[in-house]
Amino acid sequence: MSLFFWILFPTSIMVIALIYYVLRNATKPKKNIILGVTLPFEGRNSAEVAELCRKFKRWLNIICASLVIVSLGSLFFAERFSLILTYLMAVVFLSIFLPYIPYIKYNKKLRALKREKNWINPAAGKLMVDTKLITENNIDSRFFGFKWFSAPLLISIAALIYGYFLDLDSSTWGVLILLWMNLGIILMFTALSVFIFRQRPEIIDRDTALSAALTRIRRHFWNRSWILMTYSTALWSVAIALFPSQMTFIVSTFAYAAILLVVAIYSEMKIRSLQYKLTENSGSDAYVDEDDYWIWGLLYYNPNDTRVVKNERIGMGMTINLAKPAGKFQMALAALAILLIPFTCVWMIMEDYTPKSVSVSDETVIAHHLRDEYVIKLDDVTEAELVETLPSNVRVVGIGLDNSSKGLFNFTGYGDAETFINPKVPPFIYLETAEKNYMIGTDSADETKEIFEEIKVNVE
């Protein structure tokens, strides 16, 4: 099975697992909220609520187990990158939406139960402001300070400077772009850490100490996450700069992504656990109830709130206020990005499986595939070689799929070459001109050999 299968398949399983955990965890009361509905203390412990949660979990189990089984279907495409990617993207797509169907259903049922039992908090829909919390600085959490971010920033800058001393070839430029990008990421993380720190404190009920503790916890975990992520980014830059090879890039990227993921998941799980424990006894007196502003308990819509970005009610995430034009725009962008995925997959399959066409006519070699075309005048060709085995290569710019390599590649022993081949079907035709080199081929070995013979005659 290809390497990509072992990357994509566990990734899709992880997405399913994460969504499963988040939604199942929503049945545990945190800050008086279950399945996106705020309930008083007696409501959270009632038999009816427990029954609704049980039914929801049953449906969640069925859907997520089915998604895991469906994702196993990717085994049939284990050697074909574009097909695996398309299949598993479809699974991920379904994983993002399907489990939320029972969530929304039981959110509505719980809200109906809340109305039926008259568990409506008199303060529901009102803005709660704890003056003590704001005044006495009970939150007592300090922004870690820019000094924590200065070290990774300096490391990243040093790696970037070092990168300019590397031998400049086509692959080095990719390294430099990455180093610049990482520097930008560190600056962005630093700015975001300040932004997050300044978010409003979390008010749960009249207990100022509880509200202060939850706010402190949230800020602490965010601070820690930002710092870990900036250091990870800096170390990633060092690895890429010191060992600029494809293997280093793959291994270090994996390690970086893994660190970010572990930090994010650990922090989220820890915060949820603390929110659960600390708010176990809340909900007997006045408590915050913003259900009216949360569509299905998921989407925040509050025209009275001046903020575009707000804390999620549970966990440490942030969400967007859809009542604001900027919020609507951001949501539209996110939706567009998700909807582009199927189009991208279709495009990739077309790239991979549409036959290539190479022909020689009027002393010109024309290589054509979908919207790409290379036109090479035989008069310009100084050397032509039939390459029986594809040399090891690095993609500089272009597409590298199972059946299609197009763009600029760097071949061992040959250097950079504009490439237009099916890497699975040797031989390949290597052409040198004054301006560029080319590596071309068709989907048929015989056809490639015929074309080479034609080219050779003209070149001689």
Partner: protein
């Protein structure tokens, strides 16, 4: 103390802030010389317009419930908190009471019932 602000209410937000702080002083939740958030702090942390918060504080200051200082912000006036501000009902309070009494009479509530209810509310607000 916890302010509960209702954006769908007919009562303007600045008045809601003012009324709840007054209730907080009356109930003892806000004590003499207790600090309140600064105008900017309250506005930033609640999302309420700064002008609205400023107006509420101005009204409270004019009525003698709080004192404000540019550096230290707002504090509950000692005279307001310890009940020594016994000047009798002002004209505004009398006018408001007249409307409430008129509505009670229209609804057929007797004088005794009205006074009993007033007593219950009074006892709820004042705990010292």
């Amino acid at each position: 103390m916890l302010l509960e602000l209702d954006f769908s209410s007919d009562t303007p937000i600045y008045l809601q802030i003012r009324n709840q702080i007054v209730k907080g002083i009356a109930s003892g939740e806000l004590e003499a010389d207790e600090r309140l958030p600064t105008v900017r702090g309250l506005a930033e942390q609640s999302g309420i317009n700064m002008m609205t918060v400023s107006k509420a504080y101005q009204v409270l200051k004019n009525e003698g419930y709080i004192k404000t200082d540019r550096r230290s912000g707002a504090i509950v006036a000692a005279a307001a908190a310890d009940g020594s501000q016994h000047k009798g009902l002002g004209e505004r309070e009398r006018n408001a009471l007249e409307v409430i009494i008129a509505e009670a009479k229209i609804q057929g509530i007797s004088r005794e019932a009205f006074l009993t209810e007033c007593g219950e509310i009074y006892d709820k607000e004042v705990i010292k």
